[in-house]
């Protein structure tokens, strides 16, 4: 089977997975029965009486019809982009609107962290395994062990404390600890309203579009601590897996053959060992990405970055079911998509699974 065929097959698999996701979200929203469901949507401060609201809601969500029908209505609404409503302190309105506003920032955070993790983690893991028991190896192992055991949000808090209180650390004020940008810089800008920048909703890009390099620099500084924290916790598990996988690979017979061919050790590692060692890393990548997405939630809450995680947390605290479900859907889709990418990479690297 060629790579192309494998990719197509894998793509087709995405569809039933998404259906499964919608099923779960649907079930979750209806756990506890209709009364509970209605209760989340009823606004007691509204001038409309509760009874009338119930009636309206029943109609809107087709609650008088069998569950299967409800699901189909829900599903069709889903594919039309109608993902419900959310009412949180930072945003009220359709969920799709919330997503378009908050998702870009989360993507920035997640992407920066992932790139940093891969760029640092893979070489370090390889190096640590090749130079077994050297100083580098021991230092890396301790480092990754700590990172693996450290609660990610606690690390964030520690960094905040360190960088925000002059008494603790001379690194006071080196990096900002909260928010996405310094408010004084953005006062009165037409393209920055209510914490959201336009048109791309990504401050880093928009500031470049408008030529405001000072805002760009400032926004970048605001990303430093969150990205570092998130990277640190993900890096740990990537290094761990890369190192142990590399060690296992170096013990394989075909590495002995490569040496017997007269390849110098560096070529053995780079051209033979590394590709094979990446395979288990990719296999566990799914779990690592899950951790990344969970970490995003925590980091955004601590550092006050306006992203999906922050929105989800707010929804949790204000009892907004629309927000929670919307967040779940987005995280699910992000996860499905990244697993797809990982699986394709896996098929590219390992020809054995294309069958």
């Amino acid at each position: 089977m060629t790579l192309r065929y494998y990719v197509v097959r894998r793509l087709l698999l995405v569809v039933p997975t998404i259906i499964g996701l919608t099923l779960i979200v649907f079930i979750l929203t209806h756990v506890g029965g209709d009364q509970r469901f209605l209760g989340e949507y009823i606004n007691i401060h509204s001038p409309i009486s509760v009874a009338v609201q119930e009636q309206q809601l029943t109609q809107r969500f087709h609650l008088d019809q069998p569950v299967i029908v409800q699901y189909f209505y829900w599903l069709s609404a889903f594919f039309h982009g109608d993902w419900g409503y959310t009412q949180t302190p930072i945003y009220s309105g359709p969920v799709s609107g919330a997503i378009s506003l908050f998702l870009p920032n989360t993507i920035v955070l997640a992407t920066l962290s992932s790139v940093l993790t891969v760029v640092i983690g893979i070489p370090l893991g390889v190096w640590s395994a090749v130079k077994k028991n050297s100083l580098v190896d021991h230092a890396t192992r301790v480092f990754s062990f700590v990172g693996y055991s450290l609660p990610v949000y606690w690390l964030g808090l520690l960094l905040i404390i360190a960088f925000a209180s002059p008494a603790i650390c001379p690194c006071f004020n080196l990096f900002p600890v909260s928010g996405a940008v310094n408010i004084s810089l953005t006062n009165g800008l037409s393209w920055y309203q209510g914490g959201i920048s336009y048109p791309t909703h990504v401050l880093l890009i928009d500031s470049l579009i408008y030529g405001r390099f000072d805002i760009f620099a400032d926004a970048l500084m605001h990303e430093v601590l969150p990205v570092l924290t998130l990277t640190f916790s993900i890096l740990a598990s990537v290094i761990r897996v890369m190192r142990s996988s590399m060690q296992d690979t170096l013990n394989q017979e075909y590495i002995r053959t490569a040496r017997a061919k007269g390849l110098p050790e560096r070529a053995v590692v780079n051209q033979h060992a590394r590709r094979n060692a990446l395979i288990p890393v990719l296999t566990l990548m799914g779990y690592t990405i899950a951790g990344l997405l969970g970490g995003v939630v925590l980091i955004e809450s601590i550092f006050n970055l306006p992203g999906i995680g922050y929105w989800t947390t707010q929804a949790l605290l204000s009892g907004d079911i629309g927000g929670i479900m919307g967040g779940t859907v987005i995280f699910g889709l992000a996860f499905i998509f990244s697993n797809l990418v990982v699986d394709i990479l896996y098929g590219y690297i390992d020809p054995r699974i294309r069958y």
Partner: protein, 291 residues
């Protein structure tokens, strides 16, 4: 080699390596604290193991002082040492519940799927895959939210989120065990399906799962504390719990860092201990090291 000898060999290998011995000691220490909290908390200086005792006359967090407040106090006037010690039990208890619950459900599903194979296997695995398509933290938030936002409901939510991992793992193990000759032999001598599952497959699946559990316990404790930190069960009246302690202390963190440091260190040390133990167990149970 007899079962008992195998356990003794495992213990011996564990103690030979410094780091896994350290891990074992740490974990045993934590479990001891939890047990003492349950039966005789005064032994370690905890006055009440179920509730934080506020001191409204002095609600501002105080720095650590000996001998009255070794960890200092947190808002509103709660002695941090007592709070942390009591919280250890709560966290450990719930985490244990989650892991065992998840493992039980997961193992059951996985072994049944592996043994029955065919349509049953397909269906069960599809369900497992669907659950696994959502990252665990947001999923736990969603499930916990709809079940209710207390600690018990949170634990249930985490069980719901965690079992698919064990199901997958158990199924993989069970599949390879199933191919083993002794299962064939058992079948040939007429042992029924259920008997095979309980007597042969499950015991052999348990050992690697055990290692997985010990590695997971650290993650579960962290996840549990992370979720309470975000805001689950924050309405409980002064329930000592490590994540809640951190989130309660968050507003005061910059001026009074100890309110955040001590509970976090408690989580960190447990995670370190559990991970060391888990790694050590995995190495000790590796057949290559046992000859």
């Amino acid at each position: 080699m007899a079962r008992l000898d195998q356990y003794k060999l495992t213990l011996r290998l564990l103690f030979e390596d410094v780091s896994s011995a350290a891990g074992l000691i740490i974990v045993v220490g934590y479990v001891a604290v939890a047990v003492i909290d349950a039966v005789y908390p005064q032994l370690i200086g905890v006055m009440s193991a179920n509730v934080e005792i506020p001191n409204f006359s002095n609600p501002v967090p105080q720095p650590p002082s000996w001998p009255l407040h070794p960890f200092g106090t947190t808002f509103p006037g709660v002695d941090l040492y007592q709070a942390v010690m009591a919280a250890i039990r709560i966290d450990l208890w719930y985490s244990f519940l989650i892991v065992v619950g998840g493992a039980l459900v997961g193992i059951l599903v996985g072994v049944v799927a592996a043994y029955m194979s065919g349509a049953v296997d397909e269906v069960l695995m599809r369900i497992t895959d669907i659950f696994l398509s959502i990252p665990y933290l947001p999923f736990a938030i969603a499930v916990g939210f709809v079940l209710g936002r207390g600690l018990d409901e949170l634990s249930l939510a985490l069980i719901v989120v965690w079992w698919p991992l064990y199901a997958r793992y158990a199924r993989g193990q069970a599949l390879s065990v199933k191919e083993n000759a002794y299962v064939e032999a058992a079948k040939a001598s007429g042992v029924g399906g259920w008997g095979i599952m309980t007597k042969h497959i499950i015991p052999n699946v348990l050992t690697p799962i055990f290692v997985q559990i010990s590695l997971d316990l650290g993650t579960v404790v962290q996840t549990f504390a992370a979720l309470t930190f975000i805001g689950f069960a924050s309405s409980g009246p002064f329930l000592p719990e490590l994540g809640t302690l951190i989130s309660n202390g968050f507003p005061y963190a910059i001026s009074a860092p100890w309110v955040v440091i001590f509970p976090g260190v408690a989580i960190l040390i447990f995670a370190v201990g559990m991970n060391l133990l888990g790694d050590g167990l995995r190495d000790a149970l590796d057949p290559r090291n046992r000859t």
